[in-house]
């Protein structure tokens, strides 16, 4: 009896304690906002020329309880006119959409399970938010494979580290296969992705990362005589990163390359492959110079029916602090089917306010 009373009193005290502290601000989620302001000029006089708000990302992160962590990123950007609509000069205004809203486990040993809407982990750069991309735009390789915003989908992911001496992580995703422009959409479709990421420390200053990715999308057609819609993507990527251990704030180097192959069967049968390779050299405390080359059309279903776009971009970045960056990108785009190359210049101001979580390596 005594024990019971003591327990009751104790639990009451404990309750009072939680109640008091939970009223403080400390349980609010970390909130941050990234804003990307852009000035763009193309010698083609395209619609995107001039000043614009490229994107705003509002992010909230917090542990939910002892078992889960939640991340919500809401993106605001210019509404894209739908293809079916007539071409018009009218402004479409801005749209707000959930870029990522997911929950992941924090108390499971060895594995992480994630559920919600999120960037697919396919490849090396797809999962990155616009503000964290190495260049101002995603580039022609990613845009032609996954669209301008990258491949975002709803589903479940599981990841874990393999028991080997180096970093070796496997991620498996089951997704709805609902990505506009990428798949032939249907409510009975499913997409699976598998990613294997490895990283070796070649020295204290140099790392080598190598990844393999695969994606399979299938929409079985019940109608007799109509073929299934199947999309298969495979990719590989490697990245060298160098930053000296002494005076590392003044110098660094990155060389990263990604290759993606696409195969589509069904109503829009297609095949294409391309690669993106870039180098980044940090030559002073707050300055980076970068160069990127992309090439599409490395695989084809039928001759002359493939996108063979080539791009070359140089970028100069001035980074006053962790929270702001001013980047100038000049890009030459060589559309295989058009005679003249397009030249495009972009100047971007990238800022981050609030408590933004750290970025992946």
């Amino acid at each position: 009896m005594k024990l019971l009373i003591a327990l009751l009193i104790f639990s009451n005290l404990a309750f009072a304690q939680t109640y008091r502290t939970s009223r403080g601000k400390s349980f609010n989620p970390d909130i941050s906002l990234n804003a990307l302001s852009l000035f763009q000029n193309s010698d083609r006089d395209i619609e995107e020329d001039g000043f614009s708000l490229q994107e705003v990302e509002l992010q909230m992160t917090s542990d939910v309880d002892a078992y889960f962590r939640a991340v919500a990123t809401l993106a605001i950007h210019k509404a894209h006119g739908h293809e079916e609509e007539e071409e018009s000069e009218e402004e479409h205004g801005y749209e707000l959409h959930p870029e990522e809203v997911f929950v992941e486990t924090i108390a499971l040993p060895k594995y992480t399970i994630k559920a919600g809407i999120f960037y697919s982990n396919f490849g090396k750069y797809n999962y990155m938010h616009t503000h964290a991309l190495p260049f101002i735009n995603r580039g022609v390789l990613h845009e032609s494979m996954f669209g301008e915003q990258g491949y975002i989908d709803t589903g479940v992911a599981a990841s874990g580290l393999l028991p080997v001496s180096w970093f070796s992580e496997v991620t498996f995703e089951i997704l709805n296969g609902e990505a506009e422009g990428i798949f032939e959409e249907d409510s009975h479709s499913t997409a699976y992705t598998l990613k294997w990421k490895n990283l070796w420390e070649l020295s204290d200053a140099l790392t080598f990362e190598w990844g393999l990715s695969g994606l399979n999308y299938k929409d079985s057609n019940t109608d007799a005589g109509v073929a299934d819609e199947i999309t298969t993507l495979s990719g590989t990527d490697f990245t060298f990163k160098w930053r000296p251990t002494a005076k590392g704030r003044y110098q660094a180097f990155i060389w990263s390359t990604e290759f993606i192959h696409l195969e589509k069967e069904g109503s829009n049968a297609n095949r294409n492959a391309g690669y993106m390779t870039f180098i980044r050299y940090q030559f002073a405390e707050r300055w980076y110079a970068q160069y990127r080359h992309e090439q599409m059309g490395l695989a084809e279903l039928a001759e002359d029916a493939v996108d063979e776009t080539k791009t070359d971009a140089i970028l100069l970045a001035f980074i006053p602090s962790e929270f702001s960056a001013l980047r100038l990108q000049v890009e030459k785009i060589d559309y295989e089917l058009v005679d003249e190359d397009e030249m495009r210049a972009m100047l971007q101001l990238n800022i981050s306010i609030g408590a933004h979580p750290a970025h992946m390596y």
């Binding site: 180096w166 929270f323 750290a358």
Partner: protein, 293 residues
Amino acid sequence: MRFLSLFLFSFSVLAKPLVMVSTTNIKSLVKEIAGSEVKVESFAKGTQDPHYLEAKPSYMIKASKADLVISIGLGLEEGWLPLIIRGARNPKIRVGESGHLALGNHIPVLEAVHTEVTRADGDVHPEGNPHFMLSPKMSLIAGEKIQAKLSELLPKKKAVFVQNFENYKKKLGALELKYSTTKLTGLKVITYHKTLTYLYDYLKINNVAILEPKPGIPPTVSHVLKVIKAAKKEGVKLALVENYFEPIVAQRVARDVKGINVVSIPVAVEGDKKIKSLLDLYEYFFKLFNDYK
């Protein structure tokens, strides 16, 4: 299968607990207290600024095997340690769990900001200055916590840890006596970043100016002129630059201020080949300050 589990079992019995720490200064103190009872490794190298470490996935592998993580806290590792711990998928080392000791929570911190602070003030740590391991006095407080935590991890070895910590205290006391550290009061210096705040506070050294106009902001011309003026007026003899920064700006000051000496200093164990332990680091500073007393 049985063979494998037997093998794994014997391995785990034989293996020493792995303690991952964020800086080499903590690593040295853990070594002093734990001796060879645990395996200890630091994420940051002695020449790296622990503030700007990159969250390399290879660190996640180490953290996944760790039995204990000891960090500085106070926001120092904010940019990388949370990623490492999450990527390690090792729930026992999460912040707040028994396998994670954030030393900063137990230190009487300096420069904690109680007023409104914004990012326009530079890289401020409202929780307080995180460089407390550079003060011998704070190393004793940190050491006490490390000793208690290690004893929790290996209860049978508690007596060893207590004894080792006593030995550390004795060695530190002898070192202070040797360099009569109480007589350094009033020595005037200028420093690049606020890394030595706790050491200055302990030795009562007068830090006349900081070369960074605000924490984490590289020196501007107008600020450097102010520093030059202050250094001249106060007759400063020593300009210290933490060795992860370039000494160029301090050398510029030295061109204008007669009799000032620019010294590029290690601020962490293994930050210089000769500095192999925390006591070596303290001795290096005691000796340096004595030379310019």
